[in-house]
Structures are given as structure tokens and as C-alpha cells.
């Protein structure tokens, strides 16, 4: 595999993986914008992610799918998708040719997530890992703990007659939050319009979440006192916020692990919750795959590669425009 101006390319197979420019044949790990880009001639992805891929790439995009674990030969190269535990339908791509195995992880996490199939360890010779949170300060607490903190925050605001507006990425995090909170309560949550269609895709896939109501369908002048509202971070400094009256804001993201990241953006509360692997899980995963060579993409590719290298792993950063959670 090599990197071409279009993206990661498998030479014998003649296909690209998560290309950033239009190509003839694109194999896609998941539906986030930095991995799934429109304009390619035809796509191949995991079946569980088909609905989301169509929403990202357009209803008329040509998308073939494989079940997790199902193998397909392309020009003598065997490919298969395996759960990455990142978001609904997210996959690692396994590529085998002439006895050499590569795994492109896309984005992944090891923490349990009720909205998608859990990460599967795929032994390989070369592992391409992400490093969105590839610094040793990034460690996640148990998801149940974070969900309880969020519920407590919602309740505290409810008691004061305020709305609680929680920002989170529209694809993946919002649904995971709604699924985790569904274990603790059954109250309805208000949602920003950007989340609406994506929630349907998750419901179609049978994911159980709290009932939701789009903010846009609420009658004008209705009070949001005591409500929980989910919205993408891009809504945070817009006039859309005005309707909520007195409210507190929160942001659910791995970046909230660092106090300055929350303060800079002016959120009242930060909840540390990420759909990416934290530092210990990145190291554990690299070890689990027993890969001889590790290539590192996203955010902190350089420090993670450097660290692995010092630990005796043949590792190097791989330059890609993948963004991780910043753009998800």
C-alpha cells in the first residue's frame, strides 16, 4: 500500500481506502466526513454502515457492501471488513495479498458502545492505527460514569428551571449518549435539526435510544426550562441558542479531558467521552494485533509513532488529512 495524492492506495488491488479525492474504486471504513468523501465512481463498505454512507455520499452513490468478516477478492487481493467499535457500521479494513496482511483501522475505540459492534482484534503484519488522542494524558473513564454525570447535570439544571444544552458530534456521539442515557431515564430529549436524519439511521438499525423531539418542531414560545437539548458544536455560538432562555452548556468530547479546551470554548461543563481509543487502548491495540509494522494517522501521529519506535516497534507516522474528533 502507498499514499497517492488521492489517498491510501493498494497497488495490486487497484483500489483506494478512504480517499480524500475522487477515485475509481473507494473502500470506506466509516461515514465520518474525513473518511467518506463523495465523488468516487464506486464504493465498498461494511453492510451495517450502508444507511449512513448513503446519507454522507448521496442517495445515488454506487455503494456495494460486505458483512463483517465476509471476504471479497479484488484483482487477487482479499479484502474484508471487521468491527471497529467507533460508530454504527464503522469497520477496520483487512487487506491480504501474497501472504502479507494489512489492517487499516480507520477510527476505533475499545470502550463498549451500545450503538455499534465491538472492536475486533485482527492480527496482521502492518497495522495502520489512528492517533486522534495519541498522548498519555488521554484516558477515558467508564462510560456509565460519564452518563451518570450528564444525568446529574441535567437534573441540577432541571431543579433550577434551566435548560441544559449539550454539544456533541452529530454522527456517533449523539446516538451513543442517547443510548447510554436510555439506561438511566426515559425522558424525551430535544435535538438540533442536524441530528434528525442521523438518528433515523440508527433507529432503522435497531439501536435503542431515548425518545427525541426536534427543536424546530416545538411550538414558538414554548419554554425549554428543565429540558436536555443535544446539538452539534457548530450551533454553539449561533442565534439558534437564543430560544433556550436561561441555560447551561456542556460539551461531550475526548478533548474535554484538558481543562483549557473547555475554557477556551466557553462551555460551562465538559464531559470526557470519546469514540476514539485513549492512549492505553492505542498501545494495547498495537500490541494485540502483533503487527510487525505500525503506521500512524490522525492528530498525534508523530508522538505516538515516536513512542512506539522507542518501545521497539517498527512505527512511523503516515501523513493523511484525517482529522479525528475535531471534524467528526
Amino acid at each position: 500500500m502507498t499514499v497517492t495524492p488521492q489517498g491510501l492506495y493498494c497497488v495490486p488491488g487497484g483500489f483506494h481506502v478512504d480517499p480524500w479525492r475522487p477515485v475509481d474504486r473507494a473502500l470506506i471504513t466509516h461515514a465520518h466526513g474525513d473518511h467518506a468523501r463523495s465523488g468516487s465512481h464506486r464504493y465498498l463498505g461494511a453492510r451495517a454502515g450502508k444507511g449512513l454512507l448513503h446519507r454522507r455520499l448521496g442517495a445515488d452513490a454506487t455503494i456495494d457492501t460486505l458483512d463483517y468478516g465476509e471476504r471479497l477478492r479484488i484483482n487477487g487481493v482479499t479484502v474484508s471488513f471487521h468491527p471497529a467499535g467507533h460508530v454504527l457500521g464503522s469497520a477496520q479494513l483487512r487487506v491480504e495479498h501474497g501472504g502479507e496482511t494489512w489492517v487499516v483501522s480507520g477510527d476505533y475505540k475499545r470502550a463498549p458502545d451500545p450503538t455499534c459492534a465491538p472492536f475486533e482484534v485482527i492480527p496482521c503484519h502492518t497495522f495502520i492505527t489512528e492517533a486522534t488522542f495519541g498522548l498519555p494524558i488521554f484516558r477515558w473513564e467508564a462510560t456509565e460514569q460519564v452518563a451518570e454525570d450528564i444525568l446529574r447535570w441535567w437534573d441540577a439544571n432541571r431543579a433550577l428551571g434551566r435548560a441544559a444544552v449539550l454539544f456533541c458530534y452529530a454522527l456517533g456521539k449523539a446516538q451513543r449518549l442517547l443510548a447510554e442515557l436510555a439506561k438511566l431515564t426515559d425522558r424525551t430529549v430535544f435535538i438540533h435539526g442536524a441530528l434528525h436524519a442521523l438518528l433515523d439511521a440508527y433507529r432503522d438499525a435497531g439501536v435503542h435510544m431515548l425518545p427525541t423531539q426536534p427543536v424546530s418542531q416545538v411550538e414558538k414560545g414554548t419554554s425549554f426550562a428543565g429540558a436536555l437539548v443535544l446539538a452539534p458544536p457548530s450551533a454553539s455560538s449561533t442565534t439558534w441558542m437564543r430560544r433556550f432562555g436561561e441555560h447551561e452548556t456542556g460539551f461531550a468530547s475526548g478533548w474535554m479531558r484538558v481543562r483549557g479546551n473547555r475554557r477556551r470554548r466557553g462551555f460551562d461543563r465538559g464531559f470526557v467521552l470519546s469514540d476514539h481509543a485513549d492512549w492505553p487502548d492505542l498501545l494495547r491495540t498495537v500490541e494485540d494485533t502483533r503487527a510487525e509494522r505500525v503506521l500512524v494517522t490522525h492528530g498525534y501521529a508523530e508522538p505516538l509513532a515516536h513512542y512506539l519506535h522507542e518501545q521497539g516497534v517498527d512505527a512511523a507516522p503516515l501523513a493523511t488529512p484525517f482529522e479525528g474528533e475535531a471534524e467528526d
Binding site: L135, P136, R139, V258, N261, R263, D268, P303, Y307
Partner: protein
Amino acid sequence: MRRLADLYETLDQTTSTNAKVEALARYFKEAPLEDAAWALYFLTGQKLKRLIPTKLLVGWTQELTSIPGWLFEEVYASVGDLAEVIALLLDARERPARTEELPLSVWLEQRLLPLRQLDAAGQREQVVSWWHAMPRRELFLLNKMLTGELRVGVSSTLVVRAVAQVAGLPAPSVAHRLMGTWTPSPTFFRQLVSQDVSDSDSSRPYPFYLASPLEQPPGDLGDRAEWQVEWKWDGIRGQLIRRKGSVHLWSRGEELITERFPEIADAAAALPEGTVLDGEVLAYADWRPLPFALLQRRIGRQKLTPKVLAEAPAAYIAYDMLELGGEDLRSQPLRERRAKLEALLEDVPRLPVSPVVQAATWEDLATARGEARARNVEGFMLKRLESPYLTGRKRGDWWKWKIDPFTVDAVLLYAHPGHGRRSSLYTDYTFAVWNGTELQPVTKAYSGLTDAEIGRLDRWIRAHTREKYGPVRSVEPEQVFELHFEGIQSSPRHKSGVALRFPRIARWRTDKKPQDADTLDSLKELLHASG
């Protein structure tokens, strides 16, 4: 310690001023006096100095976590706060959720302050044992105290409001009692909130009254005759106190600087008992202020040799009188305070009175403003003649009307990550101007852009990086910025040969190409204008 951690968390998690004052007041009401005194110490921005060198703290963290030095640097560049970095890295191990609770005063008096008596090995043993036994948020606070960085992000005005609320006193009385040096003790806190008005500390300054920048045309201030106009001196604001046989000179940062300026202290010794003046410390010779750079050089010196004193002789230009004969004059109108000031300081060497600028109309004044640079002043101070001496920054009676800043168009050359709350963004920049066909870095600047612009520039920087040097990136020389600055001086320490004072970004000149940027020669021409 837990109570302080709760307070810190509450303050950190709200942007509402009222909620902050409420949380502070609740703390002061509920905490034991000895804890409240220490909390107040930190909340008013004071810190424990020289407890443990940060180098040692970093070293111990690396040993405990097996993090190599370069990775620690990388983490620090991304977080920007050493206390937080250490707390986050140590969070790797299982942490106790709740631990033995010690009062804040015990932490400080029996644990932290005694660290000074230990050698490095003893300090290590102590600190590491605490690190093992604390939950993360308390560990973070402990580190903040150890590194002397504990700032809580509330302004002293809010702290004063909260104490005043608890004590049932007017805020200015509390502000006054908090001035100067005090030891965080139960006695001090009891006196602070007591209704008894007698005040024993003779060195204590009054809170300074601060002018607001004039944003409207001066004509809007009304009748010119109601205003006293002075030059705005470019020195160190100071309060000069002559009480009980001694002299105290306080800087606006509430630091005692008497010993830095022996000639002023000597001159003030001749003042009558119970005198307090407000004014400015300047480098000053032949009844004329010298450039600020000279004063700065003097402040930088450890030892005041006769040579230093001769090179940059200091004077105290007095512009207000707050106390005379032990009587607090602050409620009297400026007109009367000024008359007393002039009568007292007629021809006292080293203590000149700030002259009143005699321009009959606002228009004449605007013309006179042109002289400001040649006089080494920053512009005008406009003070309402009927105004009392207020506390803090209250708009309306005192205005500063600054001369327009110098400007230069420069090219962005290097980007540095920010610190603290801007730790994941490139927020500090190095700018260059043309020296022949080369771009010569001339200054760093980090303020002036909006958050949105910083975000946009950050993305541009990441996409147009040429090289990385540790956390610093060099970028394609494409972006032009208009910088403002207050002065320029020649500087052999800078490769460009010049140093700018208070440089900041005025605007992002997306309309300009790098070849439109200014030259080093044109910048150097300003050296004369700037004096």
C-alpha cells in the same frame, strides 16, 4: 482541601458573575477562619514562592510514569499548564475517590511550607506520597500550589464583593483592608470582616483609581472647563506613603518597591506625617522624563550601583493627594485635593507635581496631543475636577486619551501553540518585515484576533507548515497582518536590532500580499519618533 476543590470546581464551571460571588461568599461563611484566610490569599493572586523547583516536579513525574522527556514536552505544549499535565499523567494509576481530609491550613502550614526545610530527596518522598493518595482534582490543586500557579480565575473585585457580603461591610472598606502585605492567619481574616474601623497597619495603601480608555471624541465629555488635563506618563504607577516615621512606595501591582528607588524614598522622608500621594515613577532628568526603556533597564538590575542610579535617575511625579495630616481626602473633589497637592510640593526635588496642560478648548488639546511622543508620554489623562478619588476602574471621571499607536504591516513567519485555555491552538505568532530580499523576524504578538480568526488562522497554519521545530512551526510567508505597537527601541539582543513595545495584532490584512509588507528600514525610521 476538599472544600477548596469544590469551590474551585464551582467557579470553574460557571460563567455567571453572581454565581461566582455566591460560591465565594458561601465558602467564606462556611470555612474555618484559618482556611478562609489561606483561600483568600490564593484568590487575591498571591502565591507561595520557591517551594520546589518545577524541574524537580517534572523529573519525579517522569520517573513515576516512565514518560520520556520529549513526550512530556509534547504533552506540556498541548496542555499548557504544568500542574494539570502532572495531574493528568499521574491519573494513570488507580486513584482513591475519597481520602483522608485535611483542612487547607494544615496542608499549607504543616505540609507545604515545611517543604522549604527539606532537601530534594526529602521533598520527593513527601510529595510523591501525597500524589499517591489524592483524587485527581485535589492533586491538580496541590500541584498548582506547589508550582505557585494557583489562580482561580475570579477578579479581585468579585472576591472583595463576596467578603463584603459576608462581613456586611461596604466593598471599598474590604478592598482597602486587603491592600498591601498581610499574613493569611485567622486573626487577619477576623479583622478583615470585623465592623471595627480602626486600622493598625501604617504601610497600607489605598486601592488605586484606574482610568478608562477614551473611546468617544473628548468633546462628548462636555464643558472643557470642568476637566483637568495632564500628560499620561509612561512609567510605573505608584502610591507614596509617609506615615509613622517611614516611607513606603507601592506599585499598582501591590508590590513594595521602596528599596528600588532610594532617591524617591529620601525625598519623601521630608514630607509631613500622614501623607499619601498617587503618582508615577519615571526615569527623570533636568525636569524632563526619559524614555521608559531606561527605567526598565534599571528595574532589571539586581544591584543599584551608583552607575545605574546615575544613568537612570528616578523621580516621582505626583498627581493626586489621598491623605494629608492623617486625614483621608478621597471623598473631596479633585479640585481641592489638587490645590493641597500643589501647596505641599512646591519645588520639592524628585517629587514634581504633574503639570496641568493648559489648552483652552478640546480642539487646542487635540493639537497639543501631537507633542506627546516628543515628550515621552503616552497621551492625556482627563480628570473631572469635581470627582472624588474612587476605587478600581469606574467609568466616567477619569479617562486616558492615548496617542494613536504606531503601525506596521508584517508577514507571519512562525506559529507557536498557546497556553492554558488556548493550548490546542496556534495563538502566538512571530512576524517579519523585509530586509532587502529577506524576511527578518521583528516581533512576537499574540493578542488582537477574534476567536474565530484564531481558529481560521490555526487551520491555515496547519495546512501551510514548512517545518516543525518542537512545538513551533514555520509557515509559508503569505499572510500579512497589521500590527500596532506603543514604541520602538534599538536592541542589540534582537537580530533585527529593534524591539517593539506592546505589539498586538490590529487586523488580518487578507487584502495584502507579502510583498506589500513594510521594511526594516521604515521601521527603524520610527526609532527617532519614538525617542
